[in-house]
Amino acid sequence: ADTPTFAVYALNSEPLTNWDPAIEFSNGIHVHNNMYEQLLRYDSIEEKIIPMLAESYTVSEDGLTWTFNLRAGVKFQNGDDFTAEDVKFSVERTMQLAAGASYIWSAVESINVVDPLTVEFKLAYKNPLDLVAATGYAAFIYSSKCVNEDNTWIDETPGCGTGPYMLRSAKWGDEVILQKFDGYWGGWQENSIDIVVFKKVSETATRRQMIETGEAAITVELPYTDVEVLKNNPEVVVSVNPSLQNLIGMFNTQKAPLDNVKLRQALAYAFPYQAVIDTVIGGYGQQSYGMVPAGLWGWSDQLPRYEYDLEKAKALLEEAGAGSDLSLVLTYTAGNEAEKSTAELYKSELAKLGVNLDIRGMPWDSQWEMALGDPSQRQDILMMYWWPDLPSPYSFLYSTFHSEDEPLFNLAYYKNPEFDQLIDGGNEMTSSDIEAAKQMFIDAQKMLLDDAASIFMYDRQDIWVTYKTIQGFKFNPAYPTVVFFHELTVQN
């Protein structure tokens, strides 16, 4: 074509925060997944592994040795051949830097290059390494040429990945522009997109206007009120997809007054689940069954749910012997409208029970600092979104509710050895007997619900809006908000 085709992806915050694919553990997921590739990819809707740089893999009987057979004929964007050495180099370096999401590799003991197209991982303990190798962060394979002597990443170096797009230009904190890598092993379809622009557009209204005028090809995180309007707009296509994100309100189970399970249960009954889903996310989601979100294995509609029931809540409150002057602090992440509205709705329900909810919007880090700081100063309820590092229930249950001496993300400060045992066991079983593992995770969640460790508010759906000319868009919840531009075409 004479003029290249291009597509703008309007993001709600900066496109990336670090060029180094070993370190980036934030918005860069959008950009990096188009520039770099993992050994495998996981399709969480179909629940199956897709071969990428590895065409196939085998696991030893004891589950401790994983062998990957690499794809032949893959070239880095800089022209170098892709070999097993690169895999060893990338994973070892990522582990060594110990930054970002590198902990996903923590089971790995050693990496051996068997031949240029075969690489073998030895594990210290049983771990689903296929899922690890398919993670959206820190599992990228990159060229050693992009690292300088002191092992730091050479910023904005083009050609370090094997992915379909390579860097064209970037403006920090604002936009990243990628262009098509002609020598991509996966080849190119007709009308594919030549240039991709990742652009930060923090105002939702601006994003909506961009997509309406076709200035943006694709965007996410629009308020549902806009979605309703856009659904009737022939210029755009709205697609609603399951996401693996859920909103939870963690109770401080260690501090009075919420160390009382009855009180926690009362509060869980007082949460207006349906009103929140209807009002805050416009019905694009559903009340959670436990911690594992719909769309991920380990989810079960057989789990009990707390339903909104003020009478029950009142009774439980009385049972718990809570005074009339009960006042609780809830923190949420400032700037997130959905969390804010949810908190406000909750506050008005609790007010009906005579409970004062003091809601504070804080930047995530301040909120987190408060949760990790002086125990007497911690919030009573901490509201947050959770999403998977690995597409496994373990990722949802381990970080958030596994006993910790020094809390990190177990911000309910939940301590239950039985629970720990169950989920650790489930994780070990994952690669051998997934059904058994599933059951163990479900049982574990039952414990959380009985203990009312948290309010499981809703599992959210993701709403994507694409401009009408964009075809082939497919969403994979294991890679939240990632658009694989290689799959897209432009039709006029």
């Binding site: 003029t3 290249p4 291009f6 703008v8 915050s13 900066e14 925060t17 670090n18 370190i23 553990f25 934030s26 110990a98 930054a99 970002g100 999401a101 902990y103 910023d155 403006k171 920090w172 904190g173 604002d174 936009e175 522009i177 240039i195 622009v197 652009k199 930060k200 557009v201 923090s202 105002e203 209204a205 601006t206 206007q209 961009m210 200035e215 400032a334 700037g335 930047p363 995530w364 880090d365 301040s366 987190w368 600092e369 990790l372 700081g373 590092d389 970080s399 020094e406 990190l408 993300f409």
Partner: protein
């Protein structure tokens, strides 16, 4: 005169030291755990311990402050906690876009605000004075963040005259070679004679420009008016009239020169305000400047970045005030 300037510069340095101390305090001492932030989200204790050493947070505060000062002296504002990149570099990248906006609004403030103030003072309590007062006070009373939204709604969505945001149209940005000489887009287009891009850039700067410029225009007009009102009552103005000088001369040369002192102070002041107002508007107009930068920093609790911007603004502010003081010092009355 030179001594006066020297003294002012010295005071400026003292002030900057104080500024540095405050920013250091805010950035290093107050947040409970910068290391955790540095180590990244979901980091484990070992990673955090490593970060503590990397950041030198294990050293005594005095040593940290000393190092901070040395770094400042070298123009090193530290690294962003989010991106781990040098803040100085990030600032320099987003600076030109903001400077363009601020400069434009300052020019507007001088060339619209001052004449407005002078006319208003001359025609005190006449209709034109009421209108101009209403305008200038209105301009300083508008919440910048709000008027940005409204302008966008009216001029883009309803009337579709001006683009919604950004510095350039995406097509132009991707398909054309953007001149990069000084980093200031409009200026670069001018010197390379690239008029297609220039036109596009000018078209894009109108709405954010108006949003940002309203405040300084109003401020300068208001200040000029009141300075002029006082000066027009001075004996030497009456005397100048008694010599039969033209009213035009009396107003625009005699009186105006006397009001340069307060006016230049207020212009310097308004540049500071404008800079901060960009924080509130740039995100609305997806303007890739410091404002966008600091709003990401505030959302991300990136203390070093916030403090970097703060110290940078304070530095420019001190310099601007110095410039204003020197202009005032040209007034022979304060020469000592």
């Amino acid at each position: 005169m030179t001594k006066f300037i020297l003294r002012r510069v010295l005071l400026g340095i003292i002030v900057l030291l104080g500024v540095a101390f405050i920013t250091f305090f805010v950035a290093r001492v107050v947040p409970s755990n910068p290391a955790a932030k540095w180590a990244g989200p979901r980091a484990n204790p070992e990673q955090i311990a490593k970060a503590t050493i990397e950041l030198g947070l294990d050293k005594p505060l005095v040593v940290q402050f000393g190092k901070y000062l040395m770094d400042l002296f070298r123009g090193n504002l530290g690294n962003s906690l989010r991106t781990r990149r040098p803040i100085t570099q990030e600032l320099l990248e987003s600076l030109p876009a903001t400077v363009e906006l601020v400069l434009l609004s300052t020019i507007a403030a001088v060339f619209i605000g001052i004449p407005l103030g002078v006319i208003s003072a001359k025609r005190k309590d006449k209709l034109i004075d009421h209108l101009s007062r209403l305008f200038s006070i209105g301009a300083v009373s508008l919440p910048t963040f709000w008027i940005g939204l409204i302008l966008q709604l009216v001029f883009f969505r309803i009337l579709d005259i001006f683009p919604m945001g950004g510095q350039l149209s995406t097509e132009i940005k991707i398909l054309m070679d953007i001149p990069k000489v000084t980093g200031f887009l409009i200026f670069d287009c001018l010197i390379t004679g690239n008029f297609t891009i220039l036109w596009d850039a000018l078209w894009h700067i109108v709405l954010p420009g108006i949003t940002i410029a309203l405040y300084p225009i109003g401020l300068v007009a208001r200040m000029t008016r009141s300075a002029m009102l006082e000066i027009l009552n001075e004996d030497y103005i009456t005397a100048a009239r008694s010599y039969g000088l033209k009213e035009r001369t009396v107003l625009w040369s005699y009186a105006l020169k006397n009001s340069i002192g307060p006016t230049s102070t207020v212009v310097a002041l308004s540049i500071g305000y404008t800079l901060v107002n960009t924080f509130l508007t740039e995100s609305i107009f997806t303007w890739p400047g410091i404002g966008s930068y600091i709003s990401s920093a505030v959302i991300g609790n990136d203390y070093p970045a916030i403090m970097g911007v703060t110290i940078f603004s304070a530095f420019s502010y001190v310099l601007l005030n110095l410039a204003a003081d020197i202009i005032i010092a040209l007034d022979p009355r304060v020469r000592t």
